[in-house]
């Protein structure tokens, strides 16, 4: 009886520790592979080169004027008619306007006291609509 007991305890005395390191490495590699670092993200634009001024025909410009209150005034080319819209409306307006005139340029004129976020809202809408030719300016007068 005593002999039998002895034999049994010798067989499964402790957990095999030889493969513990392998398990640890496996976990390590698993976490290394699955970890995703937050990447920088944002709205990319290309600034004009210094002293690079291009004369653009007025009828090819869509003036987007951002007021300090966040209200957006739209002015098409030569016409003096001003249309008040919300930033979220610009996406569809741009799509429509660029379908009519493929040479259209968006001139985003922001009031100096307007919040940065209003400009981002407008830029966001333009990016969503696939606008490439965007000019960021300061609204004067």
């Amino acid at each position: 009886m005593a002999v039998l007991n002895n034999k049994k305890s010798k067989v499964n005395d402790e957990i095999p520790s030889a493969s513990m390191a392998d398990i640890a490495f496996l976990l390590l590699i698993f976490f290394l592979v699955t970890t995703v670092f937050p990447k920088d993200s944002g709205l990319a634009i290309v600034l004009p080169e210094e002293a690079e001024t291009v004369e653009v025909n007025q009828k090819n410009i869509l003036h987007i004027i951002i007021q300090p209150t966040g209200i957006v005034d739209l002015k098409r080319g030569e016409s003096t008619q001003v249309q008040q819209v919300r930033p979220s409306d610009i996406e569809s307006i741009w799509r429509q306007a660029v379908a009519e005139n493929p040479l259209l340029i968006a001139a985003v004129k922001t009031h100096p006291e307007a919040s940065y976020k209003f400009m981002i809202d407008v830029l966001d809408a333009l990016h969503l609509a696939g606008a490439i030719r965007v000019s960021l300016q300061l609204f004067e007068g």
Partner: protein, 149 residues
């Protein structure tokens, strides 16, 4: 002969191979050493409220080619954990941009409530420094939370 052989056998049994049971410990030690001693060159985040946009895209550029310019709500400008005046940006960025072989990407991280005048001045400083590629860093706005018309 028999005795000598036995002696050899015993000797070779004592130093048969390098003990491999502690190899993993050594590997871990090295790993932890390098993890602790590695220093990432990165500026600390400034306390800003991020602007949000739906069209936000990931920037495909190496970390070392991105320079963050932080604009806090009070209009102060920070780069690499240092405060800069608006006029200092052109002289600081200019040489940096030239040294990077015009690869440098500027990430403007401005508070959403900051007045646009600051951003415009910053852009003018960057243009004067010859910078072309700029990103307005934004958080991705969840489509679900945005009220649809």
């Amino acid at each position: 002969m028999g005795i000598r052989q036995g002696g050899f056998q015993r000797k070779s049994k004592a130093s048969d191979e390098i003990p491999s049971s502690s190899m993993a410990d050594i590997a871990f030690l090295l790993l932890i050493f390098f993890m602790v001693t590695t220093v990432f060159q990165e500026d600390k985040d400034r306390p800003i409220d991020w602007a949000q946009a739906e069209a936000t895209k990931k920037i495909d550029e190496k970390k070392k080619d991105i320079l963050n310019i932080w604009v806090e709500r009070d209009g102060t400008v920070w780069m690499n954990d240092r405060l800069y005046a608006m006029e200092e940006i052109t002289p600081v960025i200019g040489p940096m941009y030239a040294a990077s072989d015009r690869h440098l990407l500027i990430s403007i991280r401005a508070d959403r409530e900051v007045a646009y005048l600051q951003i415009d001045q910053l852009q003018k400083q960057l243009v004067a420094a010859g910078v072309v590629r700029v990103v307005f860093a934004t958080e991705l706005e969840r489509r679900m939370t945005r009220e649809r018309r």
